[in-house]
């Protein structure tokens, strides 16, 4: 049975299908497997980071630091692989530990010092980017054979390459969805988003959950950084500027409310695909100037927000009518 709570997810899915159909009717080449593979590969790092952002937003918070953390991770990996002889896997573990700790620290600051997430993660954004600069301002290439091995892992059909990192993103989404809907931590995240006071009264460990959420976001930003370093074989401190805004946009387009409490990890997946689709379409079209690109992206964002608003409004209205029916029903009953 389709429940009203799943409506935003269905809307996002329908939007994606509709948008894809429209794009394909203009450029049949967009139906090719290559484009599908590209969507997965090219958005892998963004998707992974957006899973973390989904958790943060579901809890009613926001994390502006992820773009910087991704860049920091890349630079850190590149520098450590250049300067030392440790195995990339060990470096991955180390950097994940670092970024998770960073997220934990931000979460702790937000919770214990009662500071707004917007500001704490803004400072985190400066700090992580700054730390990346301090490590290296130059773009540092990563030339480790293990990287080549990982990059060589893909499944090729019809010239389309389904790469490891795309798979990793899908896996992250699956795990993220499971954690969100099938674990106590996930339920606590929704509970926080539904209302911190009520959650507290219901015995939700607010401190642990808040800190956990930002730790997850930090950790996933780290994972995203690893993926980005695989994607570009380099660490660059100027990389992924503003990715947090892309991630927020994807989460919003995916039907999660920025006020928290309502939304789906799976919705974010389609949010990511929709954004990727828009970009692909713009490139296929190839006539937009730099400024028109910005304007078109902004307008499409607006169109999605409007669409979502309209559908939410319609759903609410229906729910209100249903409520009125049950209300009168219960009155009649008593």
């Amino acid at each position: 049975m389709i429940r009203s709570t799943h409506l935003p997810l269905l809307i996002t899915l329908a939007t994606f299908v509709l948008a894809y159909a429209l794009c394909a009717s203009a450029y049949p080449a967009m139906l090719s497997l290559r484009v599908v593979a590209n969507l997965l590969t090219d958005n892998a790092f963004l998707g992974i980071a957006a899973v973390g952002m989904t958790f943060v937003i579901l809890s009613g918070g926001i994390d502006l630091s992820i773009g910087s953390v991704i860049a920091f991770t890349g630079v850190f990996l590149a520098v450590i692989l250049r300067e030392t002889s440790i195995h990339p896997l060990a470096a991955f573990a180390l950097v994940l530990l670092l970024t998770t700790a960073f997220g934990t620290a931000m979460g702790a600051t937000i919770h214990y010092l009662e500071m707004p997430p917007f500001i704490v993660t803004l400072a985190g954004m400066f700090l992580a980017r700054g730390a990346a600069y301090v490590l290296s301002t130059e773009s540092v290439p990563i030339t480790h054979e293990f990287y080549d091995t990982l990059q060589g892992l893909y499944w090729k059909i019809d010239g389309a390459r389904f790469r490891l990192i795309g798979g990793l993103m899908v896996l992250t989404f699956i795990v993220g969805a499971l954690v969100a809907h099938r674990t106590r931590f996930g339920q606590n995240v929704y509970a926080l988003g539904g209302g911190e006071q009520a959650a507290k009264l219901m015995g939700v460990p607010v401190a642990r959950t808040t800190i956990g959420i930002y730790a997850v976001s930090g950790g996933l930003a780290g994972l995203s950084g690893i993926v980005f370093s695989l994607y570009t074989s380099a660490g660059y401190s100027l990389a992924t500027v503003g990715v947090e805004l892309d991630a927020i946009a994807a989460v919003v387009i995916g039907g999660t409310l920025l006020t928290g409490g309502y939304g789906f990890v799976a919705g974010t997946f389609f949010g990511i695909l929709i954004m990727g689709l828009i970009q692909t379409y713009i490139v296929f079209d190839g006539t937009l100037s730099s400024w028109w690109t910005k304007i078109v992206i902004g307008s499409l964002l607006f169109a999605f927000i409007l669409l979502q608003k309209g559908l939410t409004w319609a759903a609410k209205k229906r729910a209100a009518q249903a409520r009125m029916r049950t209300a009168t029903g219960s009155a009649a009953l008593s």
Binding site: L46, T137, P141, Y231, T232, A234, Q279, T280, S289
Partner: protein, 317 residues
């Protein structure tokens, strides 16, 4: 029958020509429009393509490498005939260039090169960023002629390759001349506004009379700095010598007005040589040189700067 074969043969022979004339589709992945120079490069590239009847697919990456990679992949999926990239950063192109190679699409790099195997791209049309810095340094060495000089430097965006290379080049240019010393170096983000702000702080921190020269990684910052110097009651170009890179129209104007001393040209016309090489390659497989270097010409007050200004000002700088 014979006629038919001749016809067929001539059609085959003409095919590349025809493709070039009408059906050639080239994807161009531009970094963005972060500076006037970049805008000029876009304008010139579009003009050059139009001149040759090429259908140019333009993709703006909003200063993000990931967007450039996405664009290149989309170009491949679309099946363009060739790809031009102005890479935002040197690293991280191997994978996607390999995919282009697999799809047999030639790639030409514009204005910056990449850290990838040479076989992955057809050619790179760039200036030598380090060389530009060296020319600037050399100019100052000649200008000062052994006199002591305290230099302040306005760097480009921290971490960007022009900032790094132009800094290195300049330091190489003044190496061995103990009379020249860089006393302050701070980023001006390649923008006029920051150039002015940072110059203001230099003037106060060092004292305007103690600064003898300014080296800016691009003209925009120099133009901003000129205003700061004027507001401090000093004469730019006289009290403080100014050398910068790019040779945008406003720099020529400043030199003509005597407010700036020298600029090194970075031509926005990278696409011309690139498209020439591409056309030759597509026509008969002529392999171009791996590096087509554009000239880094020094302009000083000796040139007819007003004329150059008028010539350049409509290029979209």
């Amino acid at each position: 029958m014979k006629l038919k074969t001749t016809l067929l043969a001539s059609v085959i022979a003409l095919a590349p020509m025809a493709a070039m004339a009408a059906d050639l589709t080239i994807g161009f992945s531009q970094i963005g429009s972060e500076s006037g120079w970049r805008a000029a490069e876009t304008t010139v590239t579009k003009q050059e393509a139009e001149k040759r009847g090429i259908d140019l697919k333009f993709a703006d990456a909003q200063q993000k490498q990931e967007n450039q990679i996405k664009a290149i992949r989309s170009f491949i999926a679309q099946g363009v005939d060739a790809i031009l990239i102005a890479p935002v950063v040197a690293t991280g192109w191997d994978e996607v260039l390999e995919e282009a190679k697999d799809a047999e699409i030639p790639v030409v790099l514009l204005d910056r090169t990449v850290d990838a195997d040479e076989s992955l791209y057809l050619t790179a049309v760039t200036s030598d960023l380090v060389h530009e810095g060296e020319v600037a340094g050399q100019w100052l060495v000649d200008e000062m002629n052994g006199e002591d000089c305290r230099i302040v430097e306005l760097q480009g965006t921290t971490g960007s390759s022009p900032a790094i290379d132009r800094k290195t080049g300049f330091e190489q240019g003044i190496e061995g001349h103990d009379n020249l010393e860089i006393v302050r170096s701070q980023t001006g983000d390649f923008t006029r506004a920051q150039g002015k702000v940072v110059m203001e702080s230099f003037l106060k921190a060092e004292g305007g009379e103690n600064i003898c020269a300014l080296y800016a990684h691009n003209d925009d910052m120099a133009v901003g700095a000129i205003q700061a110097i004027k507001e401090a009651g000093l004469k730019p170009g006289e009290d403080i010598r100014i050398v910068a890179i790019d040779a945008v129209p406003d720099a020529h104007k400043a030199i003509a007005d005597g407010e700036m001393n020298a600029t090194i040209e970075l031509t926005p016309n990278m696409a011309g040589p690139a498209l020439d090489a591409l056309e030759a390659y597509l026509a008969d497989g002529t392999e171009p040189e791996k590096w087509i270097q554009t000239e880094s010409r020094l302009f000083t007050a000796d040139d007819d700067n007003m004329a150059i200004f008028n010539e350049k000002k409509d290029l979209g700088y």
